[in-house]
């Protein structure tokens, strides 16, 4: 389990997390769902060690164990799709880059640069890169933004077969229906509606 205890984060004047506590399972697929701006992304950034905490602590996972997909794609404009994946793989695993493109149904676009990809394709490429990075937990912030529901479900099924726990943020019904647990949130400050 990942334990978040009494987390407080203040950004500017705004109290995004106010003594927020939550225990998350480290198996299967867990979804966090809630309105935009409620603090879900801040919570992700806390798990990644990117947001300074005023108080509280996280136990059960270290930022180094997490493979994140950020809200923005953050692709390298100067590299082709296949190179984006190879960039995060160690030398001995570079051969497997293509299988991650296949996983997100982008094998035809291996030599395409990000600027030539549609919004949904670029999102899938960023997702493939996060999956290739690997770790003890996939932390995916709106991984299927701009991706059609049928394809999202197909890709999520393949991600499940990777046997690495997933914590994702999503608003899409089709995606949420595939998750083992859905935690509904509201805020700010962030609060759990259905524990």
């Amino acid at each position: 389990m990942i334990f978040m205890q009494e987390l407080t984060v203040v950004l500017g004047e705004k109290r995004i997390l106010d003594r927020f506590s939550l225990a998350l399972p480290t198996q299967g697929i867990t979804a966090l769902s809630g309105p935009s701006g409620c603090g879900k992304t801040t919570l992700f950034r806390v798990l990644l060690g990117l947001e300074p905490l005023q108080s509280g602590r996280v136990e059960g996972i270290s930022p180094r164990d997490i493979a994140p997909l950020f809200q923005e794609n953050r692709l390298f404009p100067w590299h082709t799709a296949i190179r984006q994946i190879e960039d995060v793989l160690p030398k001995e695993r570079r051969e497997s880059a293509r299988q991650y493109l296949t996983l997100v149904e982008l094998e035809e676009e291996s030599q395409t640069y990000p600027e030539a990809l549609s919004g949904g394709m670029a999102r899938r490429l960023a997702l493939a890169r996060a999956l290739a990075l690997g770790g003890r937990l996939y932390l995916l912030d709106e991984p299927f933004n701009g991706v059609d529901p049928e394809r999202s479900v197909r890709i999520l099924t393949r991600i499940r077969s990777l046997d690495t726990p997933v914590l994702l943020i999503s608003h899409e019904r089709a995606v949420l229906d595939q998750c083992d647990q859905v935690i509904a949130l509201d805020g700010p400050p962030l609060q759990v509606i259905n524990p």
């Binding site: 990117l50 180094r64 923005e72 390298f76 100067w78 590299h79 960039d87």
Partner: protein, 243 residues
């Protein structure tokens, strides 16, 4: 079409030059294009011509390469170390603001005249490269830097995958600007310092002996080299960008 774009303006300006030369009527003041071409062909047959061109190219480009390297190193230092920024930035700004003529005379007091054109080229190039590389480094996408941190990139990969591609367009633009400046300031330094077997020295002698066609011919050589080098650099950069 591409050939016409070069040939038509060239023909127009050669025509204007020819008419002006006929109007002036004195080769000492304004030689005709044919007289300049004749002088250039005569020079081109001598060993001195190629020696001068080779020596000037070597010393000016040696200096420019040094300026590019030093400018890049100082940019990295001033961006990443507040101490280096504090100490080095004012010095680079002073170099940028100092007139090239003052530098030539000062450097002539400190180093042998053979090295002055190279040192001057380097000094003129350094602030441009420093400014462009600094801009490239500071404008590196912070989201990519954050990604590199969370994706546990090694220092080598951070440099290879994030910083170098981000800085590359700024660096290329800096080198393109610096090239013309290095060449012109280098030749100016040669004219003032008169190192043996250089284009600047030949220019000076042409002026001294009132050989105006020769003066024009050497100026033409400087312009031709400038165009050729700019073209070569563009080809090189395009090829690199294509890769």
């Amino acid at each position: 079409m591409k050939l016409l774009r070069v040939a038509v303006p060239l023909a127009v300006w050669l025509g204007v030059w020819q008419i002006a030369a006929i109007g002036v009527g004195q080769e000492l003041l304004l030689p005709a294009p044919l007289a300049v071409l004749r002088s250039l062909l005569e020079q081109g047959r001598t060993a001195v011509f190629w020696q001068a061109a080779g020596c000037s190219l070597l010393s000016i480009f040696g200096g420019m390469a040094g300026g590019v390297l030093l400018g890049s190193i100082i940019a990295v230092m001033t961006v990443f170390s507040p101490w280096a920024d504090w100490i080095l930035t004012p010095a680079v700004k002073v170099i940028r603001a100092t007139p090239v003529a003052s530098f030539i005379i000062l450097i002539l007091l400190w180093v042998h005249r053979v090295y002055v054109p190279g040192v001057i080229s380097g000094l003129m190039v350094l602030p441009i490269i420093w400014m462009n590389v600094s801009k490239g480094l500071t404008e590196t996408d912070p989201l990519l830097l954050e990604l590199a941190r969370t994706y546990r990139f090694s220092r080598r990969n951070l440099l290879r995958l994030v910083y170098l591609p981000s800085v590359q367009p700024y660096f290329a633009a800096g080198v393109q600007t610096a090239l013309g400046l290095a060449w012109k300031s280098g030749v100016a330094a040669e004219v003032l310092c008169l190192p043996k077997h250089t284009i600047g020295t030949q220019l000076y002698y042409a002026k001294l002996y009132l050989e105006t066609p020769s003066l024009f011919a050497w100026t033409g050589v400087v312009i031709c080299f400038s165009f050729l080098l700019e073209w070569g650099l563009n080809v090189l950069l395009k090829r690199r960008h294509g890769q």
